[in-house]
Amino acid sequence: MSATKGRNKVPMFVWQVLLGTVLLLTWQAGVSAGLLDKFFFSRPSDVLGRVGQMLVTGTVWGHLATTLLEAALSFLIGVTAGVLFGFVLARNRFLSRLLDPYIRVANALPRVVLAPIFLLWFGLGIWSKVALGVTVVFFIVFFNTFQGVREVDPVIIDNARMLGASERQLIRHVLIPSALTWIFSSLHISIGFAIIAVVVGEYLGSSRGVGYLISQSEGVFDTTGVFAGMAILAGVVLAVGLLVDRLERYLFQWKAQESSRVKGEVA
């Protein structure tokens, strides 16, 4: 464990930075040499300058706050509903079989087509975006919770019951911790998708948010602005992902390191 950390981490990080630098420089050089049209492709230096300007003048903060608020709300609502439904359906065979075809149909629906209807129902404010985000987060978390509760090793359940666990204790000591590992591996994905969904919502109709900024820039053929919005979004998603990583590593010290397993389709 410590061997891989000590020996490989620093060099790989350097390589990764190097790759990014080369890609950006190629882009920059391509535009400077006239191989790429600046009008359509902008330039990394311009994008960086714009991002800096947006951050310094503070024009972006309000929009970013709106987007993050929407994402956080859709994440909270989606996770709560997903965990609850996942748990109930995993414990109730009749309900899960009854609802199975409907869940499949609902999950097969591309979320983007819901955006217009949510706009009509919830208006241009944040709630139409939250609703869109919830539909994405809910299914990812739902499928993983369902699977997590179902996949608990029956020996572990029998063992706990023999040791005196009541139904409630079984849920608390065995089913929830077991499902948590599945739920958590789904959080990585669902956080990213919550942000994407609300940005798409904003892009399709709103007066605030990063998606709104991007759509405004696009409207005036300001590619630098579009790229700057993308860069800011990517940074935010990355930062949130790192936070979840930290939390996960703290919560799952008991687990052998393994690649994360995620079930569930996304929009």
Binding site: V155, R161, M162, L163, G164, H173
Partner: protein, 266 residues
């Protein structure tokens, strides 16, 4: 609640268990004296685990009754602990947390539970490993945790389903010795399921042979009058051991051959 030393801990009367499509065990009657170490042997697929699960209350018999200390069993057998073939350790709890689990579920005072668990950690030879997680342990160490986990709740009856089947020969012999020591110290009733006749004789007061499945029944009950404490390292060459082994094997052999033929046909 506790019975006298010469009572019956577990009594099965005319017990059958049917699963969709086949009969696992049929019309089995069995008595386990309080404080006895009884082994159940039989060819694979003879319903040994089914029998144990019914004594544990994890399975309900399709016919017949299970009595624990004279009381008919309803639901989980609260006077028994169960050591499974594959341990049921919680991967997200440490060694200490796993050993404490039974006490925690019985809402024992947390401090006291931790103290008792600590003493069990030492007792099963895991001092220094209390904070490890199951995935960091070897197979033998996991068995020790499982052993402490079942014995800490101080059950009157301990059920064991081939607990050492997956271990290498040497680790296995050590664990068998430790089980015998624990048993001698605590005077609990043990039902030990195994497919290994040598192991069964070496450990037990009584060996029950089950017929080949399906619809398995009891072929015979054989007392083992070897002296205690037993020296597990040398016991297998003891003349009396060989004699007992020979007499039980005569009966078991046929059942093994039958189950072998059955598998060939299948």
């Amino acid at each position: 609640m506790m019975s006298s030393s010469n009572g019956t801990a577990v009594r099965l009367t005319g017990v059958s268990k049917t699963f969709p499509g086949y009969v696992a065990v049929q019309n089995i009657s069995l008595e386990v004296r309080t404080g006895a170490f009884l082994s159940v042997v039989g060819p694979s697929g003879c319903g040994k685990s089914t029998l144990l699960n019914m004594a544990a209350g994890l399975l309900q018999p399709s016919e017949g009754t299970v009595e624990i200390f004279g009381e008919p069993l309803n639901g989980i057998n609260r006077s028994a602990a169960y050591m499974f073939q594959q341990d049921g350790l919680l991967p997200w709890k440490t060694v200490l947390g796993n050993i404490m689990l039974g006490l925690e579920l019985r809402s024992t005072d947390a401090k006291q539970a931790a103290q008792r668990a600590q003493s069990w950690v030492r007792r099963v030879g895991l001092a220094g490993f209390a904070d490890r997680y199951p995935h960091q342990l070897s197979g033998g160490m996991r068995k020790r945790v499982a052993m402490a986990q079942t014995w800490i709740v101080d059950p009157a009856i301990v059920l064991m389903d081939e607990p050492f089947a997956a271990l290498d020969v040497h680790t296995r012999m050590r664990m068998e010795g430790e089980i015998l020591t624990l048993w001698a110290e605590t005077g609990k009733t043990v039902i030990f399921v195994t497919h290994d006749l040598e192991e069964a004789i070496a450990l037990s007061d009584e060996v029950v042979v089950l017929a080949a499945g399906p619809a398995s029944r009891v072929v015979g009950v054989y007392p083992v009058d070897l002296e205690r404490p037993r020296n597990l390292i040398d016991i297998k060459t003891d003349a009396r051991f060989v004699e007992i082994y020979g007499s039980i094997w005569r009966d078991l052999r046929e059942e093994v051959l039958k189950s072998y033929e059955r598998d060939q046909r299948a």
